[in-house]
Every structure is written in structure tokens, then in C-alpha cells.
Symmetry: C2
Subunit: 158 residues, 2 copies
């Protein structure tokens, strides 16, 4: 039966939505993403998204605009048609990861400021703060290196 598989797909979309929600996106945004992932063909119009998810136009509009501003989604048009076909930007998730990393980058600076403000009556504590600071710097550097590594790996393949 067809409905059976479709049910499965909808549940999958729902699970993607929840996963995205935990990543800081709002529910409807996560579902739109999920919808575009399972969509066959891999693009959908505004109305199709709305119909598939059964949510309001405003929810779809806001979700799509948010996703487009983050460059996770973009759209194309077909010649002679006015409507837009929305689709995932394949590199979007990857650059998303980069921006997420960048958000941690304020910590080392703050921690250094903290240590500068502290007395040196508790050198052990200060040392540990600096170590945490080093840890964050270290991880940021490492992750950027990993991203580089990935990009080179991909470049070779293609």
C-alpha cells in the first residue's frame, strides 16, 4: 500500500524536524527542511510545501526566508513560470557548521579577561581557567583544520 510508505516518510520528516529543533531552529523550519530533503523531485513550490506539511502560509514564508538568509535553501525558477522552486543548498549544512563554530570563538577572549581581572591568590584556579581557554582555542583550530582536510579530500575525489 502506498499510504503506508508515505506515513513512514512523514515520520522521517518529523524526526528531522525534531533533530533540527534541537540544533536551535524553530519547529516549522525543521519540518520545511525535512520536507525538502525527502522531496522527489528535490525541489518544491511554496504551495507544495504548505500542502505537504499542512501549516500556514506565514509559517512557510518565514521558514523559507530564514533558511534562505542562512543560505541553507535557495530557489530556482523554470522559464515561463513565475513560481519558485525551493531546494536545499547542498553546501548549506556545511557552512552552517562553520558559523556554529564561530560562535564559540568569543570564549577564549572572555576567559583571558577574567584571569586578568582576578587576583593571583588562587593560582591553581587561574591556571585552570587558562587551560579551559587553551582548550577552546585548540578545538577551534582543530576544527578549522578538519574542515580544510574535508575540503581537500572532496576536491581530490571530483
Amino acid at each position: 500500500m502506498k499510504t503506508d510508505k508515505e506515513q513512514n516518510v512523514k515520520e522521517l520528516v518529523e524526526r528531522i524536524g525534531v533533530a533540527m529543533e534541537m540544533g536551535g531552529l524553530q519547529p516549522a523550519v525543521g519540518r520545511v527542511l525535512g520536507c525538502l530533503m525527502v522531496s522527489d523531485p528535490p525541489y518544491k513550490t511554496f504551495d507544495e510545501i504548505q500542502g505537504y506539511l499542512g501549516i500556514s502560509k506565514s509559517a512557510v514564508s518565514n521558514a523559507l526566508n530564514g533558511l534562505m538568509s542562512r543560505e541553507i535553501v535557495d530557489y530556482m525558477t523554470l522559464p515561463g513560470e513565475r513560481k519558485r522552486y525551493f531546494q536545499l543548498v547542498q553546501t548549506g549544512m556545511i557552512s552552517q557548521m562553520k558559523t556554529k563554530l564561530a560562535r564559540h570563538s568569543a570564549m577564549p577572549e572572555l576567559l583571558r579577561a577574567v584571569v586578568q581581572v582576578r587576583s593571583n591568590k588562587y593560582p591553581e584556579f587561574n591556571k585552570n581557567l587558562l587551560e579551559i581557554c587553551d582548550f577552546f582555542s585548540f578545538m577551534e583550530k582543530e576544527m578549522l583544520a578538519s574542515l580544510d582536510k574535508w575540503e581537500k579530500l572532496k576536491a581530490k575525489k571530483s
Copy 2:
């Protein structure tokens, strides 16, 4: 003048609070963390925290309990005293990073499920989905490796 420096420290606490807030914690929680970072000595009682931040007891209580359940803060007691001295767990931020990483680990599985559900009419799209999937797996592996590297580096020093 003393007040001048204290003002600076309070601003620093506030900035830490904001940084933590962006990391997904609630405002009061971020400030309690900031307070414990700049605290000299590096521990404070419930009342001291409340007094320093000028927030309610319930806010302090909830913040501390949340931080303790995440193992970012713990407390000690002094012999003969009932009150608890709250302090940062130095490894707390680091294990916090680990849990954050773990949250991404559902993605590869979901993406694989998506591809299995899709037709193969759009092999390019499917290939790209699998590539994103690989990317997340790759990054998770890399980060765990980095964490290992850090721990070994630290082990050597001490």
C-alpha cells in the same frame, strides 16, 4: 578607586552571561557562571551569589541546580559549616563540549534513512545527501580525535 574596577568586573560577568546565553543557557544561568568565574576566592555561597547578582533566590536555586546537573558546577562544604560553597568544575566546560558534539550524531543516521526512502531518479541529489552524511560522520570522528589529542597533550604536561 575600587568601585571603578568592580564596575568593570560586573560588565565582564554580564558579557559572559550573554555569551553563555548564545550557547543556549538562560540569562540567569550565564550570570551565575560568570559570577563564579570572577569570584575571588573561586567559590561562593548561595547568598553571596544572590547578593552579587541581585537576583531572586529561586533564580539562583534553579540556575545552580541546572549547572550541577550538567556537572558544570559543584559544591564543597567546610567542616562545621552547613552552607555550601559552589564552584566551577574545571572540566565541566570540556565535557559540556562533548555532549554538544553528541547532539549532532543523529544526523548521519537520519540522512541515510532519507536516501533510502528516496527514489533514484535524482542520483546527484542523493549523492550529495550522502556526502553531507559523510561530512557529519567525518567531523564527529575528527572532533573526538581532537579531544583525545588534547587529553594526551594535557596528560604529558602534568
